[in-house]
Symmetry: C2
Subunit: 397 residues, 2 copies
């Protein structure tokens, strides 16, 4: 297990912000390049063959998936939300390498090729589209749209990729890569307290709620805060008030979740009535109709037509694989591991929707807190996750 | 009048943002240094003696204010709000040089020293305190507090001044500079439509409303937007909704103005419930009690104690000077120029409160729009302003 601790220690300082303690690991930045270099080093150390696909996702293969595939792939992502935690993403990648180490130490030889994947830009923190790497790989994100996406500084994804040494001209559904992937398995820290309630260190995912992101452009007229009569104002902050309060009330009514977590105010001066406020709405829930109703009600309150930046329908993971994994993971305890849904999107969800046989394992999160510097998992539970992943690989490969 | 046009053309591109067309001229930046260099050049070209005071304000003197003073000073500022207009500030500085040119062309010789002033950091766009240069000069802004003020990147005012070559160790009330200023006269574009209503190109200020800025720190708990139940959330966006809506309603009730024009959201991620939202409240009005009531009601709605970043009581300009100027400016029209109050703060207000004999001239603003790229004044009105300023100098010097 020492390989887990040493990998964790290597990643610990990368992209960590000194004052918040949170991670800022955004796609196609210098920090991202350091993380990719780390992945390359871990793959080389284990004699794996590293391949970068057309979308910029990294694949480290043991065995030849073209000749002897399709293979079994385990992995996750290394990027983060702004001021995110250490576990969301990296736990799945580090556990994949550690599980491989454990299996090799036991002398296990897989009977099909085994890959470890690191997906690019899972959080979409920089360009607004979550799971951009897996969406590009599977072709559900249009390459032209992706290339033109901009970050807050106006840099396009194509420019950011070029700076990082990846040619955005090759973006597009990558059949060659997809053919290699027979089964995909993603281990992830839980982002809720389901496993706290059941008292288990590891669980298996049943489904991912339908979820999406919408941008609300609230336009007004810039003017002087000290001289413009209230009646003469066209202040987009008032539309923002409507958007935020309706998002909450409407989500409650429809049994969904809705969040306005990101704002951009222009010109953002203390004594200037804003010319424009841009608000991003994240909405999800067990029912697609419920989510769609929330978005419609928020848009009406804000008086604007929302721009849909991403949308993912409900994803039910492969039922056979799910039950098999629940049995394998629960073997030690003498009963199947718990099976639970999640509101969080994952690359596993994108691959599942694209027809890949896919499953997810969750590791217990004692507070349920995620997307925060306070995100945490206990070391013993992380090791239980590595063990569960190793047993899953053994059963499937 | 060609000197006005050529100065205006020189300033036109400095700090202008290519996509918004607005100006971003913030204190102690490279753009600010270019503006100061421009001021120095205009002073040198006219044989004026340039002095930088302890606060970093620039003074260009004709004559010796120490030996033959105190003198008459005209001027304004060159910095801007984010995406501000071309007139707020620069019109007063350019008109001061142009009025001097006009008087010299006519052979006028003042019988007391004549200065042209350029105040530093009038808008407070970078460090949050408006009229920082004149507040430091007069000692109403504590030097320790000023040095420790930070911009959005965490740079302190002391560091920013040092980078720009000004030693922040010398900040503090500057008696030597104040002794030189017998009378201060600031020409400014009007930031309302008072002169449109009266049909005059130029007016005289009566008073500045009491006004201030408060920072509201709204704290919550960062968490995942897709997995945290609504009931478990501590989302500071809901407190923001209360602050903005109460600011508007309370200002209406108290006959005041209140604006939330600047926000900072942390971490500002689409799928992250914010850990903190910081909102800035600008409040003003004819009555100090009304303004104080608005701030108290907003603070209660937001559930926080507001941090007062600046406060300026009502300022009534010198009545004798005001009436004399109204008569001088109105001479051509055969009746005194209109006298009108304003809700906007100015360095003239700070100097007046500090006991300097002070007056302001306003130039008509056809739309009343200010703090916006659309801010405008007609060329003929600008020239009428230069003419009024020249006649005022003639009468007072």
């Amino acid at each position: 297990m020492s390989s887990f601790g040493s990998m964790w220690a290597d990643l610990e300082p990368v992209g960590r912000h000194s004052s918040t303690g949170g991670y800022r690991r955004f796609a196609w930045t210098a920090v991202d390049a350091t993380l990719r270099e780390w992945f390359r080093g871990e793959a080389e150390r284990r004699g794996l063959d590293l391949v970068t696909d057309r979308a910029g996702n990294l694949w480290a293969w043991s065995g030849n998936p073209d000749a002897d595939g399709p293979g079994l792939v385990v992995g996750s992502h290394l990027d983060s939300v702004p001021d995110g935690g250490a576990f969301d993403g990296p736990l799945g990648v580090v556990s994949a390498f550690a599980a491989l180490d454990e299996l090799r130490a036991r002398g296990f030889v897989p009977d099909r090729p085994l890959g470890i994947a690191c997906f690019a830009d899972e959080e979409g923190a920089r360009f607004g589209v979550a799971c951009a790497g897996s969406r590009l790989l599977t072709g559900v994100l249009d390459p032209d749209r992706a290339r033109a996406l901009t970050d807050d500084d106006g840099t396009t994804m194509a420019e950011a990729m070029a700076t990082a040494g990846h040619d955005a001209a090759v973006l597009g559904r990558d059949e060659e890569t997809l053919r290699r992937v027979g089964t995909f398995l993603e281990l992830h820290v839980e982002q809720g307290r389901g496993l706290v309630d059941t008292g288990d260190p590891v669980g298996v995912a049943s489904s991912i709620w339908p979820h999406g992101r919408w941008r609300l452009d609230l336009r007004g007229r810039a003017d002087h805060a000290g001289t413009t009569r209230l009646a003469d104002r066209d202040d987009p902050m008032l539309a923002l008030v409507g958007a935020i309060s309706v998002a909450r009330a409407s989500a409650e009514r429809h049994g969904s979740l809705a969040t306005v977590g990101k704002l951009r105010v222009r010109p953002n001066g203390v004594n200037a009535i804003p010319s424009e406020v841009t608000a991003w709405l994240d909405a999800r829930g067990p029912s697609e109709d419920g989510v769609r109703s929330v978005v419609a009600e928020v848009a009406e309150a804000a008086g604007t037509v929302p721009a849909e930046e991403s949308w993912t329908s409900s994803t039910d993971f492969d039922a056979g694989l799910r039950d098999r994994l629940a049995a394998v993971v629960g073997e030690g305890a003498g009963m199947p591991a718990p099976v639970l849904p999640t509101g969080a999107g994952h690359d596993a969800g994108i691959l599942s929707a694209a027809g890949v046989e896919t499953a997810m394992l969750f590791v217990r999160n004692p507070t349920g807190v995620s997307h925060s510097p306070a995100e945490h998992a206990e070391p013993a539970d992380c090791l239980a996750g590595v063990d569960a992943l190793a047993r899953a690989i053994e059963a499937l490969a």
